[in-house]
């Protein structure tokens, strides 16, 4: 783990601020902007804290914050309510299960695990959409959105780096 100044585990700092940042990022990237025929990518910012929170420590609040973040995402994009909460909680749950093996791992190892969590979340969201709409979502579009989301891992790394050592009970 990089040698950064460890911050105290204040729920406002490790839960609320990242959640607000994710909501803000989703809002900015939902603007209808287009230049030279290209539009802004649309990553799922909320997958960053979903992965990081699960590694930092077990939490009672984190799943509910993810539920609210997912509902915000669904309302913003016009998805069926509950689609992204389920996907985010699935990624959070799977990462929580693997937490004993992930704690203290290197940047690249964690990135690979983050990629697995993103894949699981997208697979669940795409499967549910397929089930509800009766039409399989475009695989290329899924890959692009998943790829852009996986590029956000350095943000998750920063969050983990800042708070992982804050609560020694879960080391």
């Amino acid at each position: 783990m990089a040698a950064g100044a460890v911050q105290p585990l204040n729920p406002l700092r490790w839960l609320a601020l990242p959640a607000l940042a994710c909501a803000g990022g989703a809002l900015i990237f939902a603007a209808p902007l287009e230049a030279l025929g290209l539009r802004l990518p649309e990553p799922i910012f909320a997958l960053v804290p979903a992965f990081a929170w699960a590694i930092i420590r077990p939490s009672i609040l984190a799943p509910f914050v993810l539920l609210v973040l997912g509902l915000f995402q669904d309302l913003l994009w016009g998805n069926p309510l509950g689609l992204w909460p389920l996907a985010l909680l699935a990624a959070y749950g799977l990462t929580s299960l693997a937490r004993p093996a992930l704690s203290g791992q290197s940047f690249w190892t964690l990135w690979a695990w983050y990629l697995a969590a993103v894949t699981a979340a997208f697979a669940l969201a795409a499967g549910l959409t397929w089930l509800m709409a009766g039409e399989a979502p475009d695989l290329l579009g899924l890959s692009l959105q998943g790829g852009v989301t996986s590029l956000l891992f350095p943000l998750a790394w920063r969050l983990i780096d800042a708070f992982e050592d804050a609560d020694i009970r879960f080391k």
Binding site: L27, I28, A30, A31, P32, L33, E34, A35, R39, E42, P58, S59, I60, L61, A62, P63, F64, L66, L67, G70, L71, L75, L76, W77, G78, N79, P80, L81, G82, L83, P85, L86, L89, Y92, G93, S96, A125, A126, L128, T129, M132, A133, E135, A136, P137, D138, L140, G141, L142, L144, Q145, R169, F170
Partner: protein, 331 residues
């Protein structure tokens, strides 16, 4: 004894998962089990529209600035291009006038009813969801401007989608590319019908294509008007071929969908004069008086059932439902 935090965290995750599953099952798009969901969506859209308008305003200004600068720099070449286009348009203009005159005379000769122009409202899109799982936009007009669910939405180039949610001052547009979008279309060359089916990609599929003539790349695709949700003849795009079959390159993709027009179209009855499809006043259905010939045998042999009197054909009210007639008047 206080339970360990790890257990409580697992319990919290389980509760959140159950809540998410319950919300997902209860809010099926098109058939919400709890009506509060649509109210929440309306309120969210009403709040989010102005917020997103502010968030995207700097980018809009920047783009307008870039457009103005490029128009200034490119003025010479644009002038040459526009002159060439004008010369071409003059030729087509003469043809258009001639054809319009001929068309009007033929319509008058045949007694074909032409559709009145549909009212529409202009709008600016402020939120753009464009992932593979949802393709919707938020437009800054709503029920206060007469927008209703189901109204078709067009850009300057062609059909964009339809309205799926309306708040007082905002409306949610489901784009043709959304995985939930289904629009009946026809191929202009062969009149073949198909269902334009979105899958989150840029070019929706042509599903359930029924035709003897195989489509060709470049065939024009228009709305067919089948089902009465969207009027017939709106431009949609052109046929392209992909590995999985026929798809449509959308006309509306040729420019950014910043500004849209929402057609205030409800159904085909809107195209008729008021009362034109009201049920006709028909004579009441009454049983004809029994004929003496039928009465006599019945009186002599009461055990035998009397024959059922036939109702004259002219008195049978032949009714046709208003929607069916409206559909049959599909222009």
């Amino acid at each position: 004894m206080k339970p360990p935090l790890a257990w409580l965290a697992v319990a919290a995750l389980a509760v959140a998962l159950i809540a998410a599953i319950a919300i997902f099952v209860a809010d099926r798009r098109g058939a919400p089990l709890f009506p509060a969901a649509s109210e929440v969506r309306e309120k969210f859209d009403s709040v989010m529209g102005p917020v997103e308008g502010v968030v995207s305003a700097p980018a809009h200004w920047a783009r307008e600035g870039v457009n103005a600068a490029s128009a200034y720099v490119m003025a010479g070449s644009q002038n040459r291009k526009l002159k060439a286009e004008l010369a071409e348009t003059r030729f087509y203009g003469d043809q258009l006038n001639s054809l319009r005159d001929e068309n009007a005379r033929l319509r008058a000769l045949l007694g074909v009813r032409t559709d009145p122009p549909l009212p529409m409202v202009g709008a600016r899109t402020v939120v753009d969801a464009r992932g593979p799982l949802s393709n919707t936009r938020l437009a800054d007009v709503g029920a206060d401007q007469g927008v209703m669910e189901g109204n078709p939405v067009l850009s300057e180039h062609g059909l964009v989608g339809r309205v799926i949610g309306v708040a007082p001052s905002m409306s949610r547009i489901l784009l043709l590319t959304d995985v939930d979008s289904r629009v009946p279309v026809l191929l202009a060359r062969t009149n073949a019908r198909a269902i334009l089916t979105g899958d989150g990609g840029p070019s929706p599929k042509l599903a359930y294509l029924r035709t003897h003539d195989a489509p060709q790349v470049g065939d024009r695709v228009l709305t067919s008007g089948d089902g009465g949700v969207i009027p017939r003849g709106l431009p949609v795009g052109t046929v392209v071929q992909s590995l999985e079959g026929w798809r449509v390159a959308l006309d509306c993709d040729s420019a950014p969908i910043d500004f849209v027009r929402i057609l205030l179209f409800r159904d085909f009855s809107q195209l008729l004069a008021p009362g034109a499809i009201a049920p006709k006043t028909l004579p009441p259905l009454s049983t004809a008086p029994p004929s003496p010939a039928a009465q006599a045998p019945a009186a002599q042999t009461p055990a035998v059932k009397a024959p059922v009197a036939k109702i004259p054909k002219a008195e049978v009210p032949v009714t046709q439902s208003a929607p069916a007639r409206a559909a049959s008047s599909d222009p």
